[in-house]
Symmetry: C2
Subunit: 213 residues, 2 copies
DNA sequence: CAATTGTCTTGACGATCGTCAAGAGTTTGT
DNA sequence: ACAAACTCTTGACGATCGTCAAGACAATTG
């Protein structure tokens, strides 16, 4: 039944596995359509049409639609969780970190809005489709770590301690990000400058009082 | 073509419009299935099956699926935006308001999780389906006002001013709420007590320094 | 070079979807 | 009580979906 995908992988011959290469290429193509139409509306045929492949190839490399979608989003998020690492590493003052962080948040909405829409779509669908939950939970945890690295470094540069738990920081910033993404759609950059303003206002409230150690 | 819905309404005979009554009944039934399966997976036949009506009636009272869904969610949210009014009106101290607010947030997740899942589903789908945006934006604005009433009253009781704009308060609290809803699914009340803890920790950070007027 | 394995194309299947239309049943108005 | 308007049932339509299978084509292996 699901013998397809299993059957091909057991040939660990190639040093760089050609099988996984194709899966990555398919994922990259699929992300275009998925980001544009969302999870429910993006059919496998449409995904294949917007790619150099045919719809049969999709089922050759992926057992079903869910496997393709999960693989694709994982493929994207794997790169995306390092987006703010440069902000963390290169900022030398707390204010600079805030500025660079806010700018990068706005930038990624501007440049990769469809990907973020897809992510929130998938996360929401995971509330209805149990098979999505494991992958979503894992990605969510990585995003939370990503935010925590930013806040921790920010606190460090400010000479203070983070006032709230990692999950709280992530939840609040993610909420702001999501509203900005929602408002961004009608092609108004106002939502982005507003997001930057909001981040500037919020970040200081995430710190505890100056430490006395 | 769309003569159905238009044709029936022009009989403003009844004092309480029987037409709108049926629409409300259909909405109430539809919310059950929509909340359980989500927007994409809930077919009109399934919605009708979980109701005292047949699937033809749905198209008699609603032009298409979108009109039904929008009407249903509006129907629900109209009641839901007043959920915290009692918290605002009856709390006499800032701490009491926080406790009642946190308890009510957890309570509504516990009692109406499917409805909230549906709302976030619809809001996410609005990023892909332009026809949903107007209704979603309007509901979102009402929710923001709802949160703003809570925060304003909280600040008043604390003798301080809200430190952040209404949109920021809403975005952050909505982010926390959404994560709690997401984590609630595996039937763990941990997510709810955790949400209450988070709210208790966050609320004070939403206020500016004590006023000196 | 022959043969096995891997890769891909093509076309079809059953299922399900939103929508619609014809007509039966019911209520309302006169 | 008759006719008109409203309400609802039933069944069908075209379209589209995920999935699968048979076979062509290409690559690799012995």
């Amino acid at each position: 039944m699901t013998g397809q995908t299993e059957g091909k992988r057991r040939r660990a011959v190639r040093p760089v596995d050609k099988f996984d290469e194709r899966r990555d290429q398919l994922a990259e193509s699929a992300l275009l359509t998925l980001g544009e139409l969302g999870y429910a509306r993006a059919s496998l045929r449409e995904i294949a049409n917007n790619s150099p492949f045919t719809h049969g190839v999709v089922h050759y490399y992926f057992a079903d639609k869910l496997e393709l979608v999960i693989y694709s989003v994982r493929y994207y998020k794997a790169r995306c969780v390092t987006r703010y690492d440069s902000v963390v590493q290169e900022s030398t003052t707390a204010d600079e970190l805030i500025e660079r962080f806010a700018a990068r948040l706005a930038q990624t909405i501007h440049e990769e809005a469809p990907m973020h829409r897809l992510w929130y779509d998938l996360r929401t669908q995971s509330m209805f489709e149990p098979e999505l939950r494991e992958a979503v939970a894992q990605i969510d945890a990585e995003l939370q770590n990503m935010i925590w690295r930013v806040v921790s470094r920010y606190a460090e540069l400010a000479g203070r301690e983070p006032a709230l738990a990692p999950a709280v920081n992530y939840g609040m910033l993610d909420g702001l990000f999501q509203l900005a993404l929602l408002a961004y759609h009608p092609a108004g950059d106002d939502a982005l400058t507003q997001l930057a303003d909001e981040v500037r206002a919020v970040m200081p409230t995430l710190l505890a009082a100056p430490r006395s150690t």
